[in-house]
């Protein structure tokens, strides 16, 4: 077994996300090639938000699994281990099975509650709350920080955790349904459970639980009849019904809800049931609200097969044939960037103008804190790099994670595997430009 020297790695702190070290230009944190030689099986790695920890599930000599973090394995081992995810505050979570029982392990410590199955680890925005779905005795449950909700359900589908972690909402089946009971289904078997309390009415279907930024309200898509949909906010339905609806969002100032709605074969944006936009689109989804709460951008199709972004009901002039992904607002709310795809080539469009460079794949755009620059992870010919404002860095990597601008925007945190080794680097933006 080969020993390698790696820089000291930061362990997650209890009180929020770890400070990012912007002062150290380069840290070699893991020898990926050595790890692959040391263990018979190495699965896909993950990297902590601050870039300080490189973690991969590995199989050890006795056939059990553990996590290898910066080259060092956990003391705990498991029959099966998968779905490694760092919480926003830097804690490493995995789903583990031992003695045929599943649970969540946080930094190697399994929750005391064990289940027939556990999956879908989710976090609050600050990472302090960890939730997961679980099955026990063929019933479905929600677990929050290791504690089980008292209610169990026939089934659970979508799950949401609020920004501060005060609310956890789930789409649940509360009424059993006999096989092929098409009439029972239409009477409604699905509802919403929020913090272990279930709404007092059922729906044909419920989709996409969304929690307001202030953690106070929950909105969902509901289906009321064969072709009758609307939005429910805190168990109250909009008065208006639609042929179809998509995911709701909360406006930050007053808790109003906006959602795409379909009427007469076209889509528009509605606010609390009434039209919010006058424009009619062949498609409209993925609406996003600016940080200052005053602007709304959404992915729209002004015509069949033509995709773009609409900002406050005004579509960008240039459209794309293949796809446009969800818009990203700049911190000052003035600029918008989105991943776009045309003729099977990917790039980024900013304020309606696409970069001239095209890629095999491109990841979500990232704005600098002063909103002046846009960076994105890109892929070309099997190598990964970073582009800023459309200019591609000359360096390429075997693996790369999304970049992050420093608070002053002068540098980027670059987490990458190069020549078989994982480095965490602070790279001046001018080096890429």
């Amino acid at each position: 077994m080969q020993d390698i020297k790696v820089a000291d790695s930061k362990v997650a702190v209890e009180d929020g996300p770890p400070e990012i070290d912007w002062g150290t230009s380069e840290k070699l944190l893991a020898d990926v090639g050595e790890i692959k030689e040391r263990f018979p099986v190495v699965h896909e790695p993950v990297v902590s938000p601050d870039g300080e920890r490189f973690a991969a599930p590995v199989k050890i000599d006795d056939g059990r699994f553990t996590m290898c973090v910066n080259g060092t394995v956990w003391d705990q081992t498991f029959e099966v281990l998968w779905y490694p995810r760092f919480s926003p505050d830097g804690r490493l979570t995995v789903l583990v099975r031992d003695d045929d029982e599943w649970t969540v392990a946080v930094e190697g410590r399994p929750w005391e509650e064990k289940f027939e199955y556990a999956w879908n680890t989710m976090f609050s925005k600050d990472g302090k709350v960890i939730a997961a779905q679980a099955k026990r005795d063929m019933k479905y449950r929600i677990v929050v920080d290791g504690d089980l909700w008292s209610h169990e359900f026939i089934s659970i589908r979508d799950l949401a955790v609020s920004a501060a972690g005060d609310k956890v909402a789930a789409i649940v089946q509360s009424v059993p349904l006999k096989e092929a009971d098409i009439f029972g289904f239409m009477e409604g078997t699905w509802t919403v459970a929020v913090n272990d309390k279930t709404w007092d009415r059922n729906f044909v279907n419920v989709y996409c639980p969304t929690i307001s930024p202030d953690d106070r309200h929950v909105a969902v898509e509901v289906r009321l009849d064969i072709c009758e949909y609307t939005i429910a906010r805190d168990n109250l339905l909009w008065n208006e019904k639609f042929g179809c609806v998509w995911e709701p969002s909360f406006l930050p100032d007053n808790g109003a809800v906006i959602a795409p709605v379909r009427t007469e074969g076209s889509w528009t944006l509605a606010r609390d049931g009434s039209p919010a936009w006058s424009g009619r689109y062949a498609q409209l989804w993925h609406q996003k609200i600016s940080p200052n709460g005053k602007r709304i951008a959404a992915v729209v199709a002004p015509a069949f097969g033509k995709w773009t972004i609409a900002v406050d009901d005004s579509a960008w002039e240039k459209t794309y044939d293949d796809a446009v992904l969800e818009p990203v607002f700049s911190p000052d709310s003035q600029r918008i960037a989105a991943v776009v795809k045309d003729r099977n080539r990917w790039t980024i469009a900013v304020d309606g103008v696409p970069w001239t460079e095209e890629f095999d794949m491109v990841w979500d755009p990232v704005f600098s804190p002063d909103s002046s620059r846009v960076a994105a992870k890109i892929e070309r010919n099997g190598r990964y790099s970073i582009a800023i404002d459309g200019k591609v860095w000359s360096r390429g990597f075997e693996a790369l994670w999304n970049p992050l601008f420093s608070p002053d925007g002068s540098s980027l945190l670059v987490k990458a595997v190069e020549d078989g080794k994982y480095y965490r680097r602070i790279v001046p933006a001018y080096e890429i430009l």
Partner: protein, 458 residues
């Protein structure tokens, strides 16, 4: 006046006629649901579909049809039922859609029930008839318009409706729970490792080249097919993944029950899962209707001109693996074997030649069917017909005798069916007509035929 013309004119003494028990089976989805209908609801629903959903396409088709009846000889139900004109495609349209239009929606509940029977159980939307129509009218589209009307009225065969309900609730067609899906993949990975030590099913691998998607019967009742694909992907050395979230099921029976909103939701979930995983293409398992739903009907409803991530059918995928040398064939299948051309990937996509290349590459004694390629007969399971369930099985069997005759004539013992509906439907045909054959998917033959390098063996 010819026989077909007589039927179409409505002057035939055979119309209306009493339906046999095998033709109008008890079905709660039709019998009980029509009791809730009112004349006003029927009329307004038909008007909605005619005036707000179908636009010019329907009008052009209706105005273009000259009632020649040349579509009749294309239809397996017509051919299988002694050329009974009631089963000709044009008669199916006449007895449903034409009457709805002619009577301006003023039809009664019994009419709707009969229209549902015809549209859901006597047409597989296979589109063979369109090739025989002098004007190329998409008659299957007209039948799907009838299904749309029936869906909005809630009159859909119960088993098919239950499948659609599953799509609406779970995004997959067999009520597979999320944990069951992931657990099955992990179990199949372990089984694959019993053959190939390093076989994997990488879950949620962002940035993989391929997302592999399947239809729900695979995790539910045919899980070994996923294991086989894990072996094939590993031998071929491909970078692939499968999602651990909803969006893994590429099938779409909502497309065939007329619930286009659910159809769109399912397809959106499927493609947004691929977009989230940042894959460059989706490879799908051996299914025909799923290809149609994922590449044509679903994306169109969502306004994607083409799928946002390219979709590759398994036949296309296997062809590339074999011709590129990524998979080497060392142990050909020896028994006499024939093939089914699934309508949606051969008539619909043109994969017939590649399918035969694969058959010849994998099999020593391939015996082709006749007719073949785009002229092949439908299996009468697709189009949602088999999903109408046991009440309609006898009728389905009577409507597909021509397929049984076609398969028997090959002298083969095995039939390759690169489509799940074909697979199940032809198994039914084999049993009903006592053909003494059995069906296989391509991947079942491929895993036995391919070379496994020594260093990869378990």
């Amino acid at each position: 006046m010819g026989f077909i013309q007589t039927v179409l004119s409505g002057k035939s003494e055979r119309m209306p006629r009493k339906l046999g028990p095998e033709q109008m089976s008890p079905d709660r989805g039709l019998d009980d649901t029509i009791k809730r209908l009112t004349p006003e609801r029927i009329e307004s629903t038909i008007k909605r579909v005619m005036e707000k959903e179908t636009a010019g396409r329907l009008r052009v088709y209706l105005d273009t049809c000259v009632h020649c009846g040349l579509c009749s000889n294309a239809c397996h139900t017509y051919l299988s039922r002694d050329k009974d004109p009631e089963f000709s495609p044009v008669a199916k349209v006449k007895n449903t859609l034409w009457e709805m239009v002619k009577r301006k929606g003023k039809v009664d509940a019994e009419f709707i029930k009969n229209a549902a029977r015809i549209a859901f159980t006597e047409c597989g939307a296979c589109r063979r008839c369109s090739m025989y129509c002098p004007f190329g009218i998409d008659i299957a589209y007209l039948i799907l318009v009838v299904r749309r009307v029936c869906n909005l009225l809630g009159v859909v065969p119960a088993y098919l409706q239950d499948t659609t309900n599953s799509h609406a609730a779970t995004s997959n067609q067999m009520w597979v729970q999320r944990d069951e899906w992931i657990d099955t993949l992990q179990w199949q990975e372990e089984d694959a490792q019993g053959v190939i030590a390093k076989a994997r099913i990488p879950l949620e691998k962002e940035g993989a080249d391929i997302m592999y998607s399947v239809i729900a019967p695979e995790p539910k009742i045919l899980a070994q097919l996923i294991n086989y694909m894990a072996q094939i992907m590993t031998i071929a050395g491909l970078d692939w993944t499968m999602p651990a979230t909803d969006g893994w099921d590429n099938s779409n029976m909502a497309m065939y029950s007329g619930d286009f909103e659910t159809m769109g939701r399912v397809e959106r979930q499927h493609y947004e899962t691929a977009l989230r995983l940042k894959v460059k293409r989706i490879v799908m398992g051996e299914c025909g209707h799923a290809f149609r739903g994922a590449v044509y009907d679903g994306p169109k409803w969502l306004t994607w001109k083409n799928p946002p991530i390219p979709m590759v059918h398994a036949v296309d995928f296997y062809y590339d693996l074999i011709t590129s040398g990524r998979i080497k064939i060392v142990n050909k299948f020896k028994e006499p074997i024939t093939v089914q051309d699934p309508c949606n990937i051969v008539r619909g996509l043109g994969l017939g030649q590649k399918l035969r290349y694969i058959m010849n590459a994998l099999c020593e004694d391939f015996r082709d069917v006749s007719p073949r390629f785009e002229h092949n007969y439908c299996c009468m399971a697709g189009g949602g017909v088999i999903n109408c369930g046991p009440p309609w099985k006898k009728s389905r069997m009577l409507s597909i005798k021509v397929k049984a005759d076609q398969l028997a004539a090959t002298g083969a013992k095995v039939i390759v069916t690169p489509c799940h509906n074909c697979h199940s439907g032809i198994e039914d045909i084999i049993k009903y007509y006592k053909l003494g054959m059995h069906t296989k998917f391509i991947c079942e033959i491929l895993v036995d035929a391919m070379e496994i390098p020594q260093h990869l063996k378990a």
